[in-house]
Subunit: 122 residues, 2 copies
């Protein structure tokens, strides 16, 4: 397992591979906190409007630094909302919509229906 992880890291980039959490292992508190943040709501809405693996991490238009954006992606992974994989120098993203819906029915839909309050952008 460790050897496999090291090999994966070596073949992709200088970054450590993303760690994922299955939505079934996510406490309700974690799911709600992940979706409460306006920037993460914006990321989730953009992902919902794109196809799986279409969006790279650098393609999101949110008013935060790169480090903060990385932290937001980590929170979304820990909440079972986001799957990421490295492809060359890019890290690609997929919203785990079906898996998340199975464990938290209606929650993601609620966020996707609401406008991006607090970001100043419609």
């Amino acid at each position: 397992m460790t050897a496999h992880r090291q090999r994966a890291a070596a073949t992709t980039s200088h970054r450590t591979p993303p760690v994922h959490t299955d939505p079934g292992d996510v406490p309700l508190e974690t799911a709600l906190l992940a979706l409460a943040d306006p920037v993460r709501q914006s990321l989730v809405r953009e992902l919902a409007g794109a196809g799986d693996w279409e969006r790279s991490c650098g393609s999101f238009d949110v008013p935060v630094t790169k480090a903060t954006l990385s932290r937001h992606f980590a929170v979304l992974r820990e909440a079972g909302l986001l799957e990421q994989r490295d492809a060359g120098s890019k890290r690609l993203n997929r919203l785990r919509r079906a898996e998340f819906d199975e464990h938290f029915p209606g929650l993601l839909d609620l966020v996707l229906r609401h406008h991006a309050e607090g970001l100043g952008a419609g």
Copy 2:
């Protein structure tokens, strides 16, 4: 306005009357944050299992101080989830289920279905 508030406070008790927020004026972020906390989840579940105005503030069995409990009630009021009124020395509570559901459909149900994770109680 100030005179009115002072009079209202004088006729009920030593406390200032509770201030309420309509669920329609509550941002999604506020609603999600209010329901993310395990203690507030527990309060909401207990309220959902009781009739309107049946439960007084002192009747909840949660492992927090009185001051912390007051703060949790305030957060629930600000999220449009709780209505309170003073009756003699007691403050009575009502879950604003229908009004909240209208603006955040499915969210309260999701919380009520989940167990009280993080509280150590089933």
